[in-house]
Amino acid sequence: MVQIAPDPGESFPMHWAIRFAATLLPILYGLVSLAYVLTFFRNDPVARRVAPRALSTTLGLHVLYLGLLGLELRRIPIATSFESLSALALALGIAYLVQERRSGTPYTGLVFIPLVFLCQTVSSAFANPAVEVSPLLQSPLFGLHIATALLGYAAFAVSAIFGVLYVLLYHSLKGDRFGIIYERLPPLEVLGGMNLRAAGFGLVCLTLAILVGALWSVQVVPRFWTDPKVWLSLMAWVVYAACFVFRWARGWRGTRIAYFTIFGWLLIVFTMLAANRLFRSFHDFRL
């Protein structure tokens, strides 16, 4: 649970507001997830109407929560893994909502929103902003670096989700299976387009994150290339860049691209988890 020592005086109500929002957000995301589950499996008209509105409201509360947290901590609240998870949940939620508005179909919410729920629940349960963080985070370049990196990873997650949906629909169509997957998912080419565009957007963001990060690190962490997370980010960049090179040079289409983006995302998640456990990284900003 988000724990902040109550500061006597004026910030005390803010402290309670933050604790309240941290508790409320997983509950709200859970309810929104339920609405999307009902929308997908039962095509429930009430759930279909309520789900996007409830999601918009919850995302608004989420923005407010991170804003208050930033004010309370007097820094960007994405310094630790668990804080970043909350920002990732917000980015995923917004990306999904934009996609739903554009495509007009609410059924892919079944995959996105439970993921948002999971990220925020873990963040609310384990984030501890009371920890002291490195003064390095005062640099404005850090804000740009972390924002582009988070957007990039969120975009890769979105791309992987669309990749999975593309593969599911592809095999339904190939096998003359016209069940709930066929019924509910958006058209195959729409899924393929989202899969590719999200990967492209992620690659641009990651490129920026790496460049800005390198520029900033040269000044404050001269031996930055010894950090395993730097190498992992570069590896992710190479994987996604290769995906576009193969598409352009070898005419890769459809499932090949989809599988590549799913593989890329799994690689990022597992190697990041492993790196956190096995190596000491300067990307851990706790003091």
Binding site: L173, F178, E183, P186, P187, G192, R253
Partner: protein, 444 residues
């Protein structure tokens, strides 16, 4: 004494026939072309003393809805007019009609609008046909307040059924299934190119479906170029000879084929060649031809989707099964909407009864005032006038409330209204000038 008007909860009936009741040749005979409808509606309306009338005539049904207090007489007149107008032998074909009255007539219309009485369960066209028929009745001045309300409620019921259930989801015909498959692969058609291979009856039907769904570019390939050109001219497409098929395959996003060719026209080599030319972009082939026009092994090529008649039939059967599962949900909506309409109708009926009751008691009061106050001075007369009016208002307060409550309680409420009518003698002539003084509510 009660009349049919008061006992029947809804003075409404429907006489008609549909695909379950009569064979096609009879339905054809009974069908009305649009130009015939207004004139016939007016004839029926005149025969029914200006009662509301509405006609729905499609390829699968002809139904005439009518409102009249005397349902027996109205049914007989409507039936006679229909038989006479369409020169139908009553002895031979009378059993090919069905007739519903009251609530059942309303249910029939609402079920039709919701698509659950259609031959193609859940079809969407019927709702538009109900709307069109409503417009025709309105323009022919054949509908009153109740009729308009009935039709508006039926259309709302049809819309709700389609919005709140999946009764119209999916494809029911092979041609529509082919088009819906292409939608599932490509989404919006406006920037897509489709090839219709074979310009026969099925090909023409599919090509029309594609044009209606806003296909960007339509290529029609046929062994006989003239036939392709005719269809292309009608649908703003481009006609190509069979020799140009490879060019068409390279340019197209999807192909729907329905030729009578005994050999497959599209084999694996041809599709592989096309895929190279189209840089491996997604390619959909829907083969409705029997014998098949596309070699089945094409299915194994990456990013190529091949569906034949068997696959499409799986789709239509699944659609039908899914739609059947939705019927109970639609029936619930129909039931709600029918009840909603009947509640409104009963509410309408309570108001005239209240007015009649007040008028009846006012008349009694006037008569008694006339009889017993002629010898009084004007001031005394005014005082008695005031007392009796006040007393009457107080006496009427409870029955008025009772009637308003009863009007909102459906069938049982209607019976209570009937009891009230009998209790206050509203169906009887006004009392004579010499009533038994003990029965008179007047002032002595």
């Amino acid at each position: 004494m009660t009349t049919a008007t008061h006992m029947d909860p809804l003075a409404m009936l429907v006489i008609g026939t549909n695909h379950r009741q009569a064979p096609l040749d009879f339905r054809e005979k009974l069908a009305f072309v649009p130009d015939e409808v207004p004139g016939f509606l007016l004839r029926v309306r005149t025969a029914l003393d200006n009662g509301d009338v509405f006609m729905l005539s499609t390829c699968n049904r002809t139904e005439l809805y009518a409102m009249h207090p005397d349902l027996d007489g109205a049914a007989s007149r409507v039936r006679d007019l229909l038989l006479e107008y369409k020169a139908i032998d009553p002895d031979r074909d009378a059993q090919k009609f069905y007739e519903y009255r009251g609530r059942s007539a309303v249910e029939q219309l609402f079920r039709v609008a919701a698509g659950v009485d259609s031959q193609a369960l859940g079809e969407v066209q019927i709702l538009q046909q109900v709307k069109d028929a409503y417009e025709v009745s309105l323009q022919a001045n054949a509908l009153g307040v109740v009729g308009e309300r009935l039709l508006a409620a039926a259309i709302r019921c049809g819309k709700r059924a389609r919005a709140e259930t999946a009764i119209s989801a999916g494809a029911m015909s092979i041609g529509f299934a082919a088009v819906s498959l292409a939608h599932k692969v490509f989404g919006d058609f406006s920037s897509r190119t489709a090839v219709v291979l074979g310009a026969g009856e099925t090909g023409a039907l599919v090509a029309r479906h594609l044009r209606e769904h806003g296909i960007g570019h339509l290529l029609i390939v046929n062994r006989t170029p003239e036939r392709a050109q005719r269809l292309a001219a009608e649908l703003r497409g481009e006609a190509l000879a069979l020799a140009e098929l490879d060019r068409a395959l390279a340019a197209a996003d999807f192909v729907i084929s329905s030729t009578a060719s005994p050999q497959p026209l599209i084999d694996v080599g041809r599709v592989r060649h096309a895929m190279r030319a189209r840089q491996q972009r997604t390619f959909l082939l829907v083969d409705i031809g029997v014998p098949r026009d596309v070699e089945p092994a094409v299915r194994a090529i990456d990013n190529v989707f091949l569906h034949d008649v068997d696959g499409l039939q799986i789709m239509t059967q699944q659609t039908l099964a899914r739609r059947r599962r939705e019927v109970p949900k639609v029936e619930r909506i129909v039931s709600q909407e029918v009840q909603h309409f009947i509640d409104w109708y009963h509410g309408m009926r309570a108001a005239p009864v209240i007015k009649e009751l007040r008028g009846h008691l006012e008349l009694l009061r006037d008569q008694e005032m006339e009889r017993h106050t002629s010898h009084l001075a004007p001031e005394q007369r005014a005082a008695v006038e005031q007392v009796t009016r006040s007393l009457l208002n107080k006496l009427l307060h409870r029955p008025t409330h009772f009637l308003r409550e009863a009007s909102a309680q459906g069938e049982s409420g209607l019976r209570r209204i009937e009891v009230a009518r009998e209790l206050f003698g509203l169906d009887q002539q006004p009392p004579s000038d010499d009533p038994d003084p003990d029965d008179s509510p007047g002032v002595r």
